[in-house]
Amino acid sequence: MVDSIEFDLIICGSGLAGLRAAIAAAKKGPNLKIGIVSKLQVMRSHSVSAEGGTAAVICEDEGDTIESHIYDTVKGSDFLADQDVAEKLCVEMPKEIYQLEHWGMPWSRKDDGRIDQRNFGGYSFPRATYASDKVGFFEMQTLYDTCQKYENIEYLNEWFATSIVHDGRRFMGLTAIELSSGTFYIIKGKALIIATGGAGRLYSFSTYALSSTPDGLDMGFRAGMALKDMEFVQFHPTGILPSGILITEGARGEGAYLLNNKGERFMKNYAASKMELTPRDIVSRSIMTEIQEGRGFKHETGVDCMKLDLRHIGDEVIKEKLGGIREISIKFSGVDPAKELLDIRPVCHYMMGGLHTDIQGATEMQGAWAAGEAACNSVHGSNRLGANSTSECIVWGKITGELAVEYIQKGIPSIPWPHHLVVAEEKRIYDGIFRGNGDVNPYEIRQQLTDTMNDKAYVYRNETDLVAGLKKIRELKVQTWKHVDDKAKEYNTNFSNVMELDSMFRVAEIVLIGAINRKESRGAHARTDYTKRDDVNFLHHTLAYYDPNEPIMKTHPVTITKYKPVERKY
């Protein structure tokens, strides 16, 4: 018999979205038992790495408007964003900035004591609210610390969720492995919020935490939820070499230049009005074009790169506003940004896609919501603007937290527990993965898989590469890699790594298929064989549904309210 525990609300994931949801739920439903299930300890989630800012309109007295934030977001998305959703983000966000502030967030301040903001890519007003360059970290700290006020939140730290238990229509619980003991558990619950974050470790050159793998997305996918718009992967222009650690866009927000080997600020040839502060997709493409046309540099590892110049910003301002990246540059690149140029290269940074939800964050399964990067409520369309993601996590964290509580409070009739699903899941992971044997090193396979994604589905894409990539992934999948050498139960990360790999295959496939199908260039998805945006055939979202053999691909309409798609120019 499998051990089981029970909560009213289960939140899977303890990043920004998960913690914000927990607070909203704990406040609204003080009598409910809330469990945060996370494969990491609280405060170890990828969200702590977010650096540059959180977008919100808080300076209306200085001329900023919500309207403008909405339009910037929609235009940044290359008109694939659902416009009602973008509006919701921009309307809700200012309140959240103040709410966070009241909970202790150490926002950077202006001299008069008000919250300060900085410039960010693609915005027509400096509206990235910042706290030095550790925004995500401080937000996580604020939320985690605020969670400490609520005694009805319980933390299941280092529990690896493996599947969603449901009756075909309605959410009923999770199965999970407690890593420290290796015990397999059923976690029963009335409602679920999936906040398992992005999956950027699909790429080997990535800004993401090593733990950002698609197992959370895959869990929803296997339970019948659709994955939406997975082909849109954001490449951030400035990742350092060789680690891929991010230099925030805030650096350019504070005035940093991008230089090619002629010493030119080459962005003037691509987007003269916004220069370095053009949305990321365009800057990344510009860098790759420069490199391809021979105006790049070579890093000592032999990798092509470009230079980022912060020297004119000055040591004092760098220390004050960009202390985190100063530390990163000195430590990981051996470069003091006040004195030397940084080697940078576009790097996998964000997944616009995720579990398909409506504007309220509800998934297609009753009782299950998704929030944060794991969700795709289509606020970012085909390209997210910097600083809009932490905003999204916070806004939909709150919305889903409250809605889930309302749902639970309405009362849910009980139905028999689907034991067979748990048995099947146990079989899948223990017989299929844990005891599955094979002689290929799963880590090597993972390396090949992520390298393939890097090579074949990077900033510029084309049919040949994508098809070759898909073929390679499918080859890797059938190799006999499924083996877990480590047979101990306690803290078996070999086991969880292999489970992560298992999920990477399914999700990588969807990214590639979606990219192959989308024969146009839109936002972050740039095809060299279809260089134009094609609103006639492709102004729609991509959906992928689970099928044991091959994902079932569908489309979904884009919600357009006020802004008719026009050519996107900066």
Partner: protein, 143 residues
């Protein structure tokens, strides 16, 4: 210490190699405190001999006038000086004096509380203790 708690235990606590002079000061403070307490108890016992009159007192005086006791006494002097001087430093520190002001840290981090003022305090406690001990030895073995 038991391995399930994985605490470093006394050995790790006094290991002088890893954490600079501050750690040395830390356990010298303890050691001298304990040493002084031991001496103090002995001293009370010693002086209580005065109740045994002239004979008893002189007997004891003779017993403690050996080189061995003199060395002990010198060490006590050293401990006393170190404990007192370092004690004053520690007390100031505990009150938040001379530990620096909060400020934005810049990489590479250099903790303001581990500053030269306190280091000087520690070194001077050690030096003064050594000097006092020399003086004590000179007086005790001098005649």
């Amino acid at each position: 210490m038991t391995q399930d708690e994985n605490k470093e235990g006394v050995g790790g606590m006094i290991n002088p190699r890893r954490y600079g002079i501050e750690r040395v000061a830390y356990w010298l403070m303890r050691l001298s405190g304990l040493g002084l307490l031991a001496y103090f108890i002995g001293h009370i016992y010693e002086t209580s001999n005065i109740l045994r009159g002239q004979v008893g007192w002189t007997e004891l005086l003779e017993m403690t006038s050996t080189p061995f006791f003199h060395i002990i006494l010198s060490i006590v002097i050293a401990m006393c000086v170190f404990h007192t001087v370092n004690g004053i430093r520690v007390m100031l520190g505990h009150g938040g004096i001379g530990v620096g002001k909060p400020s934005r840290p810049d990489y590479p981090y250099d903790p303001a509380s581990q500053n030269y003022r306190h280091k000087i305090g520690i070194y001077s406690a050690i030096v003064l203790a050594a000097v006092a001990m020399m003086y004590g030895l000179a007086v005790l073995f001098g005649e």
